[in-house]
């Protein structure tokens, strides 16, 4: 068990180091930060001085090493754009993204499972057909477009919801929350729908397919024969057996909700880490880009590691000591 975990952790660290290396090798193609930091009346001497000062004249491997050296001490450098520690900025922006991801995830889960059950049980009804057709739109329309359409409908035409920003936020310790004010909650609705729609349709279709599968099983047929009420069959027996794969998929999707919040955050000017990353690319703010990419890769690698360990706990076959067996 321990050897397995150590091996997996070791592999994860290797993956992280490699991701960082690839990221750093690509920063030079993103552009030159100096052009954004100095005005048009600068001289070549100014450019050279700043380049040396920022260490941009050194090969990317050296830059990467410097970054790692500082990062292990918890120092992610200073943002070129804001002149403030990157760690501080990321912490400031993280609550916005996490709250958005949480609400979208919840929406996707509740909406997806509910609609999935409905369309599975009433699969011949017109309502189920409408939902299935609409869900195709949810899967195929790009997030960007959905966001803009929602803004035009609910902000411009109806005037019900704000088109951008996070509304009023309350500070609790270091955490800024939009859950406690009316404007904060209103501001959450459109971005959460935009971000969660794709996951919701995905979960809905998954639940529907699984449920239809389960409903064909013999034990359901026997349950019906025994005269158990339809309600109990659907929710107690069928749903329970449907949820196993759904939970696996949802866990994996959680990471992508945070990572793909970038587009939603840009459309709604949502002050989270995704928007920060987009701004950083535009400004060639290398420290912010590096820290964000590392954060996202740590998150994905971490989720995978946990999943691996869960498999280990669930699947007894993995527990067999490979060397001892000898077939």
């Amino acid at each position: 068990m321990l050897a397995y975990i150590i091996r997996r952790v070791g592999q994860s660290i290797l993956v992280l180091l490699f991701t960082g290396l690839v990221a750093f090798s690509m920063f030079s193609f993103v552009g030159d930060p100096i052009d954004n930091m100095l005005g048009q009346e600068r001289t070549q001497a100014d450019v050279e001085r700043l380049r040396t000062e920022l260490g941009l004249d050194r090969p990317f491997v050296v830059q990467y090493y410097k970054f790692l050296e500082q990062a292990v001490q918890g120092n992610f450098g200073l943002s070129y754009r804001q002149g403030r520690p990157v760690g501080e900025i990321l912490l400031e922006r993280a609550p916005a993204t996490l709250e958005l991801a949480f609400v979208s995830g919840l929406l996707a889960l509740v909406g997806g499972i509910g609609l999935g059950i409905f369309t599975a049980i009433r699969r011949q009804g017109w309502a189920a057909n409408v939902i299935m057709t609409v869900s195709l739109i949810g899967v195929s329309l790009p997030t960007f477009l959905i966001g803009i359409l929602l803004i035009y409908l609910f902000s411009v035409e109806l005037g019900w919801l704000p088109s951008f920003g996070r509304g009023e936020v309350t500070q609790i310790g270091g955490w800024s929350t939009g859950f406690l004010t009316a404007s904060g909650l209103k501001a959450l609705i459109l971005p959460a729908i935009t971000l969660g729609l794709y996951q919701m349709t995905l979960i809905m279709r998954l639940v529907r397919t699984e449920m239809l599968e389960v409903l064909r099983m013999d034990y359901i047929r026997f349950a019906r024969a025994r005269g158990i009420r339809e309600r109990a069959i659907n929710f107690r027996h069928a749903l329970k057996n449907t949820l196993v794969p759904v939970i696996t998929i949802t866990g994996l999707q959680l990471g992508s909700i945070i990572a793909f919040a970038i587009i939603t955050e840009t459309v709604f000017q949502w002050p989270g880490v995704g928007l920060l990353f987009i701004n950083a690319i535009q400004f060639v703010d290398i420290p912010v880009m590096a820290a964000y990419l590392m954060m996202i890769s740590v998150m994905f690698v971490g989720i995978n590691l946990i999943v691996d360990m869960l498999y280990f706990a669930i699947d007894p076959r993995l527990r067999v000591d490979r060397t001892a067996g000898g077939h």
Partner: protein, 518 residues
């Protein structure tokens, strides 16, 4: 419950009866609040509301007194003497005196600053008394007061107390986030890249100020979102409005499109010091763009009125020189653009030895200027009519300047906004032979000894007529050699709610003092 009501009543009392909140959005957040650490339009435009210079520009871009009440040349062009305004205080209450001006000169001209080039001709700055400042220049500099309108004065005591006597571009410091100017508004809240709140400075010396009591600036990256926010009434002003949305805003209710022209002239430049084409296919020898006739052929082939009609939706003015007619030093006699004449263009190409045209690389940014990549696409089609096969490479601006510096182009798009609002500015940066501190944006490497001789002479000529004559001569040479093909003056498109009165200044600075909420 009772305390809550009392609190609410108190809050209501604290806000003046006619509180006017003004909310505006723009694409870029000023990346610093330090007026000497950023020499870019977003930074200087924003800080013009908070800090002030010795002089400032009025609604028509003319210089008028600000922290200096008057100024005069010293002796025979040895420098300039400024008489300072008395009774001015900084936002923190400190008095404004000559000492602050001298300090701000040292700070803004230090190697750490991004504004040092404004002071390249200054040799010494002295304060004979508390309200007089003398700035000595190495050579006569007639437009010096014009060139320092964006040089903002910082309080010496405040800078020392907060350890920000020098700007720090790469690491930031206290002045990156905090301000202490003398301007009409002070920063009440600063959340970088998210929100900045300005409130009127009660002890401001001036009177020309609108009725805004609180101004909230939010950067909105996505232009579609910005337009939606304006239409839904969540913001009162956006800048810029995407050209394709201009007609819609014109028709929408409750909002208004305000059109103006910017000081920025769009032009095509050419590689002129290389011996081969980067994007050639080997069908022609050498670099055809070295030949002025080829560059002139390009000028005759581009249908500028059509570009303005279709891509700019009629919002821009054609340009004939490197500056717009509104700039000082514009050459009135040279205001004729090369006419659209495909036959003449073909004839010029044939005369230069390229009757069948050639293939080359056209480099353009796709997120720097208004509809820049569309303009370049249209140009490709227009040049095809005279047999020139342009390979268009449109890239984000963050990669654009490095590519131009690496000579990865044969022809390129450039927009230039003269910082001094004088015709000499583009000559200095775009036409002078490239050197360490001059000709720094002359990517093509055009070099003309006569031009190089005239530019320093223009810079130190005091007599306006003699100066204009030399400016005319350089403008004539630039036009004759077709160093650049000027296209048009970029439009200013701002969208506002209908109850907002404001002034669009040609440098695209948004001046909050001129905003009135009706």
């Amino acid at each position: 419950m009772k305390t809550a009501w009392t609190l609410a009543a108190l809050c209501a009392l604290a806000v003046p009866a006619n509180a006017e909140t003004f909310r505006w959005a723009s694409q870029t957040d000023p990346n610093t609040m330090d007026p000497h650490a950023g020499n870019s339009a977003p930074v200087l435009g924003f800080l013009n509301n908070v800090y002030e210079g010795l002089v400032r520009r009025d609604r028509d871009m003319q210089i008028e007194p600000a922290l200096a009440t008057s100024w005069e040349p010293i002796g025979d062009g040895e420098g300039w003497r400024f008489t300072l305004r008395e009774g001015v205080t900084f936002h923190d209450g400190a008095d404004f005196t000559a000492e602050d001006v001298v300090f701000s000169y040292e700070r803004a001209s230090s190697p750490e600053a991004d504004t040092a080039s404004w002071f390249s001709s200054v040799t010494e700055v002295m304060a004979p008394d508390d309200y007089t400042v003398e700035m000595r220049t190495s050579a006569p500099n007639p437009i010096f007061p014009d060139s320092i309108a964006n040089w903002m004065i910082m309080d010496k005591g405040w800078a020392e107390a907060n350890d920000v006597t020098r700007p720090n571009i790469e690491q930031g410091n206290y002045a990156t986030l905090n301000t202490n100017g003398t301007g009409a508004y002070r920063v009440a809240e600063r959340d970088p890249a998210l929100k900045t709140v300005l409130v009127p400075f009660e002890n401001w010396w001036g009177e020309d100020r609108g009725n805004v009591t609180e101004a909230i600036f939010t950067p909105i990256d996505n232009s579609a979102t910005a337009v939606a926010a304006l239409l839904s009434g969540e913001v009162d002003m956006i800048n810029p409005v995407p050209v394709q949305d201009a007609d819609r805003l014109d028709q929408a209710e409750g909002v208004e499109l305000k059109r103006g022209v910017e000081a920025r002239v769009m032009m095509f430049g050419f590689s002129q010091d290389k011996d081969t084409l980067v994007g050639g296919d080997g069908s022609v020898e050498g670099n055809p763009f070295k030949d002025p006739r080829v560059r002139r052929a390009v000028a005759h082939a581009i249908n500028v009125p059509a570009i303005l009609q279709t891509i700019m939706r009629g919002s821009a003015e054609p340009a004939a020189q490197l500056v717009s007619p509104a700039m000082s030093g514009y050459s009135e006699s040279l205001s004729e653009r090369p006419a659209l004449d495909v036959e003449a263009a073909r004839a010029l190409l044939a005369e230069a030895g390229y009757p069948d045209g050639f293939r080359f690389l056209l480099k353009c940014p796709n997120d720097r200027y208004i509809n820049d990549d569309s303009v370049c696409q249209a140009t490709v089609a227009m040049l095809a009519q005279i047999g020139l096969e342009a390979q268009l490479d449109a890239i984000p601006v963050r990669n654009y300047w490095p590519e131009l510096r690496a000579d990865e182009y044969d022809m390129y798009l450039l927009g230039w906004s003269p910082g001094t609002f004088d015709a000499e500015h583009p000559f200095r940066f775009l036409v002078h032979t490239p050197q360490e501190n001059i000709g720094t944006w002359n990517f093509g490497g055009y070099s003309n000894p006569r031009v190089d001789e005239l530019i320093p002479a223009i810079q130190s000529e005091i007599d306006p007529e003699a100066r204009q004559a030399m400016l005319d001569e350089v403008a004539g040479i630039v036009q004759e050699d077709m160093v650049y093909v000027p296209l048009y003056v970029q439009p200013l498109l701002w969208g506002t709610a209908t109850n907002i009165d404001l002034t669009q200044r040609e440098d695209n600075f948004f001046i909050l003092r001129w905003v009135d909420v009706r």
